[in-house]
Symmetry: C2
Amino acid sequence: MTSKKEIMSYLKQEILSLALKPGSMISETALSERFQLSRTPIRDVLKQLSLEQYVDIYPKKGNLVSYIDLESVEQVIYLRNVLEKEIMKSLAGNIPLKGLHELRGNLAQQQQCIEQAEGAGLFLQLDDQFHRTMFGLAGREFLWGVLQQFNVHYIRYRKLHMLKDEKLATIQQEHQQLLDYIVQGDTTGIDELLHHHLRADIDSMNFQEHFATYIKK
Amino acid sequence: MTSKKEIMSYLKQEILSLALKPGSMISETALSERFQLSRTPIRDVLKQLSLEQYVDIYPKKGNLVSYIDLESVEQVIYLRNVLEKEIMKSLAGNIPLKGLHELRGNLAQQQQCIEQAEGAGLFLQLDDQFHRTMFGLAGREFLWGVLQQFNVHYIRYRKLHMLKDEKLATIQQEHQQLLDYIVQGDTTGIDELLHHHLRADIDSMNFQEHFATYIKK
DNA sequence: TATGATCATCTTGTATACAAGTTAGGATTC
DNA sequence: GAATCCTAACTTGTATACAAGATGATCATA
């Protein structure tokens, strides 16, 4: 009844939303019964999930939802930072009007989202859309896809980190500023702002203490 | 007799070296008989290879060695370019002595390799090692790993492209120059040199004509 | 009581039979 | 001869039985 693709996106969502907590066990037979499918296709799904680091497979022991790897988070943030800096500079001064409207619309929605406190879930979705649009406008959607494949740890980290500190407003303002710089063609402004933008305080002991049970040791 | 890991690295090597040509069919049963293993573990290997784009799986039809995707090549080159520019600038002026020796040694070997015309295979290996060392010195080995996972198309393209034009000497000289800039802490020099370094002429019709049978349409 | 071995029962890994889609070639028909 | 349909032979996808390692509880023993 349920196809492999559906099962996969279902599990991905559950893991990314932290509904399935890091360290939880995902047994093949359990999934098999739950989705009324034999173990073989279930294994295919788990294999793929493990390659994308959603799941850690311990042979003959079991499949665990991966713990958040802070090293991976830091590296991915750096990668995003470097890429976006370059992409925004390439857009500076010559951003298509259509794209500009889309981005402005997005930021407006983000603003609404904050005022109405509709939950951070939607905001994060809009945030992703904002960055993705940037990549698209620069002809780098491919690289956005690359980032997505290494996002498991980053997305979960971000979810916890943002919910904790409610920095949403700050982020929205920074986005607004970035867009202004792009329109004005102010590349040095972009450089300076992005320099500390995504350099989130990973090593804040605060975070590690709070979510110790989610983190890879 | 042969383990999954061995089969995988074996197939990877055959594909990267173009011993298995793009478009070649890789049948599960054939591999099964060849390596004396049942289809199940073979399928695991093929699944992973397809996720890393070594292989394209056409359901109920067959598994083909992937054609070289020039779009992917261009994007990966861009990614490398952006990352390395940032990494080298971070190393500029404060590169560890030990690392410097390693890089110089590597360049010397590259030089030898060219003079003795030992075949480009070794040169490309040294080239990879050079860049990898850079990443390592900057604490970005993780990102080198990321690049590797999207390298199938790039590596094969590079192999054909370089063998064809024998630009090896040029590349080696550029590396030498880059290293000098790093030692001197000349970040603008790095910027300028890298700007056109990896921007290989992908869209050279020459290449597409020559290797049409290898290229994804 | 503490300790250690045994074994039942988990888990995933592999082999194999069968289902089902695809394709190419030949027989049939016009 | 040309077109069409059918079939046989591929291919991968799925289900299932069995192999084999890991784990923990239980029971025997010092």
